[in-house]
Amino acid sequence: MRNYVIRRILQIIPVLLGVSILIFAVMKLIPGDVISGALGVEGSPELRQALTVKYGLDKPYHVQYINWILGVLHGDFGDSLRTSEPIFPEMMRRFSVTAELTILGALISWIIAIPLGILAATHRNKGIDRFVRVFALMGVSIPSFALSILVILFLALVFSYFSPLGYVSFFENPVKNLQIMILPSFVLGITIAGSIMRMTRSSMLEVLQQDFIKTVRAKGASERITIFKHALRNAFIPIITLIGMQIGSLLGGAVIIEQIFSLPGLGQMTLTGINQRDYPVVQGCVLFIAFIYILVNLITDLLYAYIDPRISYN
């Protein structure tokens, strides 16, 4: 187990190195640069030259890359070219917003999806199952931007309600923070609940048809014990995989929801960085997101062993 974890953690290094080279190359390949973005119509060749030197963009690409990656290795992600703010502290501030949104959204989706998914499986082809199937289909099909705007307009027009403006962190003002976070978390929860619900239902159905469930029932176990102790635990592996993947990608920022609900999250930071061609910001964010994704995947893999003791990593 310990060797496995160490090996997996060591694997992160070449992956991140590859990601860093890829994102650096992509940022240089896409048309447009930070200077055009910053100056717009006010640019002139002399001004552009002055800024190129100021930002160090006159150096050869490999020198730029090495300078950047050496900084990253020392924990220095550099400064934003547009705002000259240090990137790492800002990234951590943004990550806390995104992490909160992810956790709340995931909790909401589990509360909705897992019980309903189990109910649908145990009451196959009954009313509740049909409801769950339609609900899941809607959750999967409605784009989050449409749902976000619908929720905002509905609350504004019917209840004259708009969630408070001006982000505050949970530790500064928990009440206001939750007021701000509840709508985006709800929308996020609904949009990811659909797939979890479907996965729970199909996975449960599959397990419930297996022989050992018959054995459990034959030995006279109650339905509750059969479902929760025996079936659910076995049905959980694919659900965990799905949840792990969802959380991994959500921690990279639910860009659209963050944008519509004006949350200063990691997704917004990356998007703004891309639009402004703020190279170090995008590079830093993508690298960090890749790191988080790999880490979540590792945790998911370790959870398998916990849920199904037959899986071992020795």
Partner: protein, 511 residues
Amino acid sequence: MKKCLILFLSLVLVCFACSALADNILRWGFESDPTGFDPHTNPEDMSIRVMNQLYETLVATNPDMTYYGRLAESWENPDEVTYVFHLRQNVKFHSGRPMTAADVVYSFERILGRTEAGDIGALGSKSTYYGDIDTVEAVDDYTVKFVLKNVNAAFLGNLSSNYGAIVDKDVIAANGDLMRADGGTGPFMLKDWVRDNNVSLVKFADYWEADRVRLDGITYYVIGDESARLAALRTGEIDISTMSASNVPIAEKDANLKVLSYQSNQYIALGCNMSTPALQDKRVRQAITYATDREALINIVFSGQAMACSIVPPSLGHWSVPLDELDVYHTDVEKAKAMMEEAGYSKTNRLSLKVAAGLLDAIRQSAVVLQQQLAEIYIDLDIVNLEQGEYVDTWYKMATPEAGFDMMVVQDGAGTDPNRSVAFFFKTGASANVFGYSNERVDELCDLALSTPDPDIREGYYNEAQKICIDDCVKTGIACMTMYYVTSANLDGFAPTAADASNYRDMYFVK
């Protein structure tokens, strides 16, 4: 005793509630996050709406494009290249330090790269702004003398640009630059900036015109989505925001909101890449202009809320030559067809052109309407919508085949002085002359006009230059937009104009 205490506590609570209701903070809904607040280096729109409250310039623009003193109380021209400004004596920086002539000198030396910091990439360092300032010196504590290298009739206009803001040297010394700091003299001070969320300003108590400012502060909230901004206006979460024409009718129906509009100096135009051989033929360019039906386009793209315009929009007043006097702007599809036929095109031999669009809805939609209108004169437009960064990059290359496009639909700002609307966009080699236009007579007229202080003679020069540029049709003006602000009904004292759309110092809430 207990009762007394309860009574007292409830009174305190009531007082708190009252003060919360009475707070005079203007809440603004922004489209995107500002990028920073250094007035000398940042031209971004949202940032300008903030910087205009923090910083001030020596002179400012009246709605009719004349000038009045802001930090300067008065000025005189002993000769054509010398300007002497007498500064107000009661102006303080937000640090509390009085502003003197030395600060004005420092600000312009910073812009021109003459301080220890060297070239900071200041926007005003170019000759189109302050590049031809020879010397700036403090005559005494409250008198500054500017000497120019040559006569520049647009000098006062340039001084009113926020690129010429007067800044606090000490704040720059402490922070390196002003992107996140506040070294201004304006009516409001920077209090806090939460990236991608909000910027808050508070009233500056020692402002030289403090009696005039009735708001206690301004908070800008970033609400990227326009529907969400409109919802926030309707529920009273924000007091003011810009709005596109399509959402204005909804706002007009709401009794709690009011709509303010002004004719802007922003216009949509179609530019020709002069390195494309087919477009080097003046007949083709003129045919495109003749075939453009501006009224039809305005009805579709702007719901009728825009004005047909040339390259100097009507918001520039007398500087703009009326469209009636411009032959090529009279839509005539038959004439356009004949010109195209003369140039060798026909139903079977059509001209295909690749057009770059993108960036803004108005640009994208205008391109589609133009595609339909030009199809009638044997031209097939192939529209490609570019993403923001790529669009700006392509814009810079539009005089070369490297751009990969034959034409581009653009939205340009004509400024408040014809030196910008004509010379900045059409003089050979000028920085915004991206389509590669070059005409000796236009260059000559631009130089003449700049060195002529007499406004009437200047107008004659610009009119002639304008007519030549328009007749050459390298860039065809199409529509000049009406801009909208939606505000809560009880907000008063705001009258946006093309010259000054972000002056919030007179705003107040009607009780």
